[in-house]
């Protein structure tokens, strides 16, 4: 059964447990940061930061919302980044879980920027030290032995969820119905196309410009973009 994350942003407190747990499991180094007038740090995803909680204040006093967005690769059902691959095996689309995994062969790719360019969510980054293109791999090493991804394991509030796709879709629908009582604008973002489904309490662009797929957010174009990728052969796992 393929896997899916369901991330309920109405329950995210931005404790950043997920951001730190990711670095801990992946043994990724901390970046040298400075406070830049925001609690969000590092400022952006990078070659050593694969999961980042973004902070955004919207509205005015009285109706202010402080929106938190733990950003990561969406593990698309039909990953557009496969189009960027020229070295066979640099991306593995795992059949069992649906995880989209970048391998060390990405270091041999002639056009590494193409990965980020191809991503509707602006996720892939280049690790300067190894030369590899990197992003969240769904903690596929953990998942294959029955563990939760590190970020989900650490979440205290139930914002981060992970499991079989049908169960996550059902949970997402249930939570959406609950959330709509308090947040009439609540919606599930790109649920049909991705394995990381966000429940947002307001317009996704308020959280971050690429929370929903780029190229006219959530419009027909997005759908078209996804449909264009349908029918392409799915790579099977090779290692």
């Amino acid at each position: 059964m393929s896997k899916t994350f369901f991330i309920d942003l109405t329950k995210c407190t931005a404790c950043r447990g997920c951001q730190v747990a990711c670095k801990q499991w992946k043994k990724l180094p901390a970046e040298k940061t400075e406070n830049w007038g925001s609690h969000q740090n590092p400022k952006d995803l990078s070659g050593v930061t694969l999961k980042l909680v973004r902070f955004e204040e919207v509205g005015d006093r009285g109706d202010m919302q402080w929106l938190f967005f733990p950003e990561q690769c969406r593990h698309c059902i039909e990953p557009p980044c496969l189009d960027a691959m020229t070295v066979p095996g640099s991306i593995i689309h795992d059949e069992e879980t649906g995880a989209v995994v970048y391998t060390e062969l990405t270091a041999q790719e002639p056009d590494k920027d193409a990965f980020q360019m191809s991503c509707p969510y602006d996720i892939p980054r280049i690790n300067e030290e190894t030369g590899q293109v990197v992003k969240c791999d769904m903690c596929v090493d953990r998942v294959k032995v029955g563990l939760l991804p590190a970020c989900v394991q650490t979440c205290p509030t139930g914002a981060m969820n992970f499991g079989d796709r049908d169960e996550m879709l059902a949970l997402a629908e249930k939570r959406l119905a609950q959330a709509k009582k308090k947040y009439p604008e609540a919606e599930l973002v790109d649920a049909e196309y991705v394995r990381v489904i966000y429940l947002v309490q307001t317009d996704p662009d308020s959280y971050y410009e690429s929370l929903s797929a780029s190229v006219a957010p959530r419009g027909p174009l997005t759908r078209k973009q996804f449909l264009a990728t349908l029918g392409r052969p799915v790579k099977s796992i090779t290692s």
């Binding site: 407190t13 404790c15 950043r16 801990q24 406070n35 830049w36 007038g37 929106l67 205290p156 509030t157």
Partner: protein, 797 residues
Amino acid sequence: MTNHWTDIQNSDCILIMGSNAAENHPISFKWVTRAQEKGATVIHVDPRFTRTSAKADMHMTLRSGSDIAVLGGMIKYILDKDLIFKDYVVNYTNASFILGDKYTFDDGLFSGYDPKTKSYDKSTWAFAMDADGNPKKDPTLKNPRCVYQMLKKHYARYDLDKVMAISGMSKKELVGLYETYAATGTGTKAGTIMYAMGWTQHTVGVQYIRTMAMVQLLLGNIGVAGGGVNALRGESNVQGSTDQCLLFHILPGYLKTPSAKDDSFEAYNKAYTPHSNDPKSANWWQNYPKYSASLLKSMWQDDDPAKSYEYLPRLDKNAASIYSWLPMFDKMEEGMFKGLFAWGMNPACSGANSNKTRNALSKLDWLVNVNIFPNETGWFWEGPGMDPTKIKTEVFFLPCAVSIEKEGSITNSGRWMQWRYKGPNAPNDQKPDGDLIYELMHEIQSLYKKEGGAYPEPITRLTWDAIATNGVFDPHKTAQLINGRFTRDIEIKGKMYKKGELVPSFAFLQADGSTTSGNWLYCNSYTEKGNMAARRDLAQTPEQANIGLFPNFSWCWPVNRRILYNRASVDLQGKPYNPKKAVIAWNGEKWVGDVPDGGWAPGSKYAFIMRKHGFGQLFGPGRADGPLPEYYEPLECPVKEHPFSKTLHNPTAIKFDDEKKAVCDPRYPLIGTTYRVTEHWQTGLMTRNCDWLTECEPQVFVEMSPELAEMRGIGSGDKVVIESLRGSLWGKAIVTKRLKPFSIQGTTVHQVGLPWHFGWTWPKDGGDSANLLTPSVGDPNTGIPETKAFMVNVRKA
């Protein structure tokens, strides 16, 4: 906590005030979120809009330091609209008690005030007594001198206009808060309060909590599932440290530290054992002599308690103004201390007024610093402004094992004692604290035995090997000693107990030296049945499952009771007020559910068994600063007067007259407050040394409103200097609408805030402690410094 983290899920209305729970107690939000899923309303009242506010159903801002006005207004609202849970108020609180003739209140001062000593003669706050020596009561609550009527009178001044003017909250916010929260006073709804250092760190901190406890009593919210008064403790084992009473005024189990006047064990017990003539009052503290004798017997096992009592040090006067943290460092600065153990503590950053604290350290002959990382305390002599060649203090640094490298227990906020096994060995033969203390005292004992001294017996006769096996500290033996053993064969309640057997519970402790117990509250935690704190069994009855109570998981003081004062959750027939979330219920023969507050049949004993008279104290005549909470300004404040009386500040607050305070001082026009973030802990010693956490929160920041930033020409991310009468530091500006200017008595007042997690040692560009700014003033009951409201200025660096 009267209740537990897990019990928050049972609440219908969660008031988070004086706390930023989502950020500083992230796991608490697991339970807050569950309550919300079931329809609970979460209200956050805070000077800032925080990550907690972002998740709350209602958020409202108040000026830091004005909480008693807001809560006093809530009491008035509840009384005016008669929203009390009357059955509970009459049966379980002292609302019906009649006050004695000497009690008065005039313009911010209670009767009995002595301006010379800045203290009260509390005997003037006594209740009127009947012929049997019990408090006179009027259950109709109509007597003009009864507590209920006195409350009405006292809080009549706390009207919406006055509260608005001093707190900066709007009428809509106040009414929304009062209406929503007071709706829990029905018996079938539960409201809870989650508070933390935002309430305790004030010169009226204890009275903040008193005010809320009174609201909870009026609404019938204490003893019930989803209710209570819940202090979110600042570290995993601070409840355990509190229970063991590592403070000046109390001994383990909240027994009193003897004063000079208590010149025999008999006199001591007599002075602190309350007496009630009412057979319906359980008056649990009547057992005081059993607990004090068992404590003494646990320490000096070869001496009679009457003799070993003489070994205890005594206070000249049991007063925070003499012995608590602030006066201790004040006296240290005057050169009155030879040495200091800073053990798992970093006072150079954690105490108010860091420059004073750091200077005080330089007056010591020696300083022993036990910690897992080098820190600003052990290295104070090379800190900012210090000249090492002029400092005499000899510093010893003892690196120790960290929590996972040792075995033992922690007691969490909800009073659960949880046993933890040992993980890896500490590197470089570093030792657990228990071993360090054991070996240190062992050596001191040897020296006194060899060399003698002025009065060596308290040390030489101490039964120190009671906590060790073959000369090595033994956490199990220590936990067993804290529980207690019988010292001889003895028959109690028809059953024989052998010498050396572990005491089953504190009901079996004796006053004659036949039992030991290092802490009576923990008697029942380690018995012949085993180490109760190590239990991880999830078995529960259907009644327990209904409220998510797991009595076989770990162990909770007292006697595994999970919700304190639970006899107040039922009526006088033992029927739960809220059957849907019953904590206990009388089934005709016995109680089911939680461990009841005493097994007596319903209605036969008053519910609040730890109070002398058996009632929850709306009128509380025991505190240093008054029997009813009263509004006073912080000792540094932006106003010359407030609307409730002409007494501007708490007249009993701890302060040092030679230290100036900024009251309406144009050089320091902004209110400052300090706080924590999720990513760092305390002075940041453990977290500043963890790269992933400093990556998230790398530097001191100063949060301010766009309005203030514009006035000062500051942009978000700019480096700024923040300064007070006592010191200054730099930080990075975070300009945000999450802070706002307040309108206080018609004047615009700005507030800024900064975290206190940083220190000059590491990271090098992180900044220094926010406590460089905070004043040496404190609460008269506890001595806790007022670090949540003080006056500062901010300018671009």
